[in-house]
Subunit: 434 residues, 2 copies
């Protein structure tokens, strides 16, 4: 016999056992159903693309993390590291076939060679939803409303969605002649929640001077961090940025719509939210779990002016957001609220002495046709083993076939009912559903 191979997997990659995979599948089903109720449609793109396409904004950081290689045909290819870049390429390639405003969702795996740590994996599922081809406040609002509704649909109700606008911040920096340093400043501001205001101010001083650093701190700390501080914070931002303009009024319009449908309490205007990535140009946002803010944002996004700019002449603006599903599930695990379910089987037909497999299989087919999920225990094992197996699969009902009658046992309270047809069995099981 040849040497055994150790069945190991790559660091940062994971197997999903049934309970976890069922939990993830159920979350995805609920998210999908919410996206559809808002009129979003799914698309799909390849996992593997030309590196030239994916690494368009080749920041050093991204490039280092990408799984990139030369395929057997000598092509320079890479695994996608997000769903935004492939979407930009998709919109450019298919702009004559799709209809604008175009609302799509895409739930799929992406790969990054990050250092594995809690909540960070090298293979993980992203869940993106975007609306492109409209610059109205209505669609900015729709993405925010969908974030709140989708998270609510999967039982994540205690969230704070922090919103800001890159345009106002850009005006503020411009008024201080800091536009050229904006990328550096944005990256530093992004660290506020991690390193605190003092450390942030110190770093900013090195970039922009003491006076400007103090001003930036005032700007990003706003007038307060509660929903009711919205107007006061916005006015402070406007004052420091040179007055009211389209960008700040856009935030007012969005706020009005959030109030109209009664969800504004979950949103706060937080000028420190800037999103490091340079393609955002309008509203930006991040979402924190009230019970576990330390895990970081579980759903982030914003508006971009020119999504497909590297692939098409037309300027196509849009707005979108992304749920980091695996990070969210890791957070729910920590909070003890992650969904887990052992199986889908409602009933098992036990394999008992003198039992006919043909009759059992016929009964199972009959029950399934009546909407009851069930299976036949295939081997004639001891009843203890069959019960233990049913328990591991969290099966609620055990059926024993005897001389044309059906003994239906509720496996949690051991109560037994005897009936004479499969339709009666199905009726008992369906009636007991919660």
């Amino acid at each position: 016999m040849s040497e055994l191979i150790q069945p190991r997997i790559l660091k940062g990659f994971r197997d999903f056992l049934p309970a976890d995979e069922i939990g993830r599948a159920l979350l995805i089903e609920k998210l999908t159903s919410t996206f559809r109720s808002f009129g979003f449609v799914p698309i799909d793109t390849p996992a593997l693309e030309y590196s030239e396409i994916l690494l368009r904004k080749s920041e050093g950081e991204t490039e280092k993390q990408v799984f990139r290689f030369t395929d057997n045909g000598g092509r320079d290819v890479a695994l996608r590291f997000d769903l935004t870049v492939p979407f930009a390429r998709f919109v450019a390639a298919h702009k004559e076939e799709i209809y604008f405003p175009f609302k799509r969702y895409h739930i799929a795996k992406v790969w990054r060679g990050e250092k594995p740590q809690a909540g960070r994996f090298r293979e993980f599922v992203q869940c993106d939803f975007d609306i492109v081809g409209s610059d109205s406040a209505a669609v900015d609002f729709e993405i925010l409303a969908l974030m709140k509704t989708a998270l609510g649909a999967i039982g994540v109700d205690g969230v704070t969605i922090k919103v800001s606008h890159r345009g106002i911040f850009n005006r503020f920096l411009q008024s201080r002649n800091l536009s050229e340093k904006s990328e550096e400043i944005l990256r530093t501001v992004d660290k506020l929640s991690k390193i605190g205001p003092e450390e942030t101010e110190k770093l900013l001083s090195n970039i922009a001077g003491e006076k400007n650093a103090a001003d930036i701190l005032v700007y990003i700390q706003g007038a307060g961090n509660q929903p009711e501080d919205f107007e006061a914070t916005l006015q402070l931002m406007e004052k420091m940025a040179g007055g009211t303009a389209e960008d700040s009024n856009r935030l007012r319009e969005i706020q009005k719509l959030l109030e109209a449908i009664g969800i504004s309490k979950s949103f706060v205007l937080d000028p420190s939210i800037t999103r490091g990535l340079d393609y955002y140009t309008g509203v930006v946002y991040e979402t924190f779990l009230n019970d576990l803010p330390s895990i970081g944002s579980v759903c982030s996004g914003g508006r971009y002016d020119n999504l497909a700019g590297l692939y098409a002449k037309d300027k196509i603006s849009g707005v979108g957001s992304s749920i980091g599903l695996d990070r969210l599930i890791a957070a729910l695990d920590t909070l003890g609220t992650a969904p887990a379910q052992a199986g889908f089987t409602e009933a098992v037909i036990f394999n008992t002495d003198g039992f006919s497999m043909a009759v059992a299989q016929k009964t199972a087919a009959d029950l399934r046709s009546r909407g009851v999920s069930c299976e036949v225990f295939p081997d004639s094992k001891k009843m203890g083993a069959q019960y233990a197996w049913a328990e591991k699969k969290a099966i609620s009902w055990g059926i024993t076939l005897t001389d044309g009658s059906f003994e239906v046992k509720n496996l949690s309270n051991r109560k037994t009912t005897v009936v004479s047809s499969a339709s009666e069995v199905a009726a008992i099981i369906i009636a007991a559903r919660t």
Copy 2:
């Protein structure tokens, strides 16, 4: 402005536009629901694994087709090319955590650098379902019943599932002292439907001599290719293989169960089905569309003795099958029966003169909470453009808000009803559902 990048994708890879992706998603949802009704649970494994793990049976053919590379950490890795090898590794790694008989389904992408051609892609979705840890005829039967039921659930009713048994064929070859050439012979027999009996016999003569070639032809052609020829063909196989044995009686047991649930007419015993792959040891099968047999098998599988043999000492037997979902969809496209659906939106609230976006969004949220999927047209465009957009998304209902009342228009027959509340709007839409 910098040079535009052509938004191209790799040969053999595909974008899925909404109509196609919705079609695929709906098929997957129906398959999933069928698997669950039979008690199967989902698992997931990484797309990327150590090459050592995936290429265990490194046949030259497979190796050439695999996307294999060295990652940034110097590891020799590969994209999975099927879901069977990762499942074997999974079972070996988690045998203490799962329960046997273990029934899993796995619907996921796999990658092969095949020459792209009709129905063949370099990235495609496999849909596998297996039962491991039981050697009973009942589970052989269950996989076959599930194949028939799952294909039926997605509207593919006209199928012929051709079944045989590798054990009987092995006995037959042994009786002719041909065991050592069995791999070569199996590969040749596999070509029968493509090259015809004469050409097959010629090739077999070169391998096994004229007399044996003629015998093999008699064996693989059976007594007939109809469900009613089952017993005659089986007896012919037994006679040529040296008599009745466990393997041939296994086929009788399975046949009895297929008859018990009334689906035996879709199955034929076809001794030419051998499945080239050498890990099969028991029943083997392939599925052909009655209206398009030329596309090849859309669902194949069989029983294997020792799934995880390369990774674990325990012998774990199992039986499973795999639907080539993308090939099946390509076939349904050819037949004009592939599902396609433009969207999920039932109603659009038109963006009309004097309209309040806040009221429109409130109405939309209200309709969604009543189970109606809807969206608000975000921009104040001409009505012609809004109607055209609604048509492209196949939206059935158009709502116009005027002075506190709701004008609900059936967009296919232009019939209009005016009501005074969102709940009445929802009632009209729900009542008209088919």
